[in-house]
């Protein structure tokens, strides 16, 4: 069973559609015990960081998420919330991954970074098994996580940004696998089969 965390700041429907397509059972939930019992957890997210963190506090999920021991995948804003800090709304985040999310410089590129971009794999990751290097994935974000020691792949939009990151049982992607066609489904399938 996959738990998809619904905290009022995520494109939950599209993630659920993708998991359903892969024939895997899932539950959309914000209940601690249901999340605790799941084999894997998906933490989606779109929207504004300070609003999303506030939602986690209101649902009493903030501390709980930090202690999850099962494989957990944060998507887009979900990944950014798993870092230390976000400049978006000047928000302290979950602190699972190191780093601070910063805004793209609109003098150097279009902001948001919107559309299909190539993802360059810089470290071995099981999540990219069977996915070719420089495959296209769909991105839509104005803030980014600079590359750090846990970054496993990057995308370039005037600067190299973290496209995926891994630490212990925690995984994060800046792109949207649920919106990235066949490659996205393949990526989810790798996560399900970890």
């Amino acid at each position: 069973m996959i738990a998809i965390i619904d905290y009022g700041a995520g494109n939950v429907a599209s993630v659920a559609n993708a998991i359903e397509k892969l024939g895997k059972e899932f539950v959309i939930t914000n209940n601690e015990y249901t999340i605790y019992k799941a084999e894997k957890i998906i933490f989606p997210g779109v929207g504004e960081a300070s609003f999303a963190i506030r939602q986690l506090h209101l649902l009493n999920l903030f501390s709980f998420i930090r202690m999850i021991k099962k494989p957990m995948l944060g998507i887009c804003l979900g990944m950014q919330l798993m870092c230390e800090f976000s400049d978006e709304g000047n928000t302290s985040c979950l602190g699972i991954f190191p780093g601070r999310n910063v805004m793209f410089d609109s003098k150097l590129c279009t902001v948001p970074h919107m559309g299909w971009n190539e993802v360059k794999q810089i470290k071995q990751s099981k999540l990219f098994d069977g996915i070719k290097d420089n495959e296209f994935f769909y991105f839509a974000h104005s803030y980014y996580l600079p590359v750090n020691e846990f970054t496993t792949s990057t995308a370039n939009h005037s600067v190299d940004v973290t496209a995926s990151i891994e630490k212990d049982n925690f995984y994060g992607v800046q792109f949207h696998p649920e919106k990235s066609g066949e490659a996205g489904l393949h990526f989810f399938n790798n996560f399900i089969n970890l």
Partner: protein, 251 residues
Amino acid sequence: MVSKRIIPCLDIKEGRVVKGTNFVNLVDAGSPVELAQRYSDKGADELVFLDITASAEKRKTLIKLVAEVAKAIRIPFTVGGGISEISDIEALLKAGADKVSLNSSIVKNPALITSAAKRFGSQAVVAAIDIKLINGVYKVFVKGGREETELEGFEWCRRAAELGAGEILLTSMDKDGTKSGFDLPFLTKLRTLVSIPIIASGGAGKMEDFLDAFAQANVDACLAASLFHFGIIEINDLKKYLKENNVKVRI
């Protein structure tokens, strides 16, 4: 580097896809879910659905359609048409849409851009702006091109970006349906005024028109409707052509 996008637009009326020339003479061109699937398979980067009969009663039908489309395809899509409340936006995004496009409602209430961007993120808010040249001035039109406003085109685009829109979907009414190419003079100047992505719409007739919009006006995406619906240009052929002409596309 992020690739340039090709976006088919599906005008929806009572659950079916229609497209007119200069916003009149609507011709039925098929089922939205089938077409969405077909475009996704052909390599469309995104889709836009515009509900041209949107009204309070139609909202439920549209949400059902959005949910069906989201189940069928794995690429992002935008929904527009008569959206004026935060609660409308929330319902559409919840059903599986990635972005909403706002047109008449933001002219009436520009603060809606900011409140929607704060709540759902700029990436979910597309400012759809229809322009027409009147006595040498680009004027903004609303209500599906039926009503002229006091707003000047460049100024309104700049303001929409400043208020927090994540993209501009710019439709030239002078060009729409003419198949004579996108409005390059407007788009080229607009590119220097805003740093958010620009989607060019209105006027595409042949593959060179897309190349010109990308190469000359440096837009981020091009949108077309009947050209794709009636198979005059196939999306995979178009992207191959663009790639051969050094435009970065996803193939």
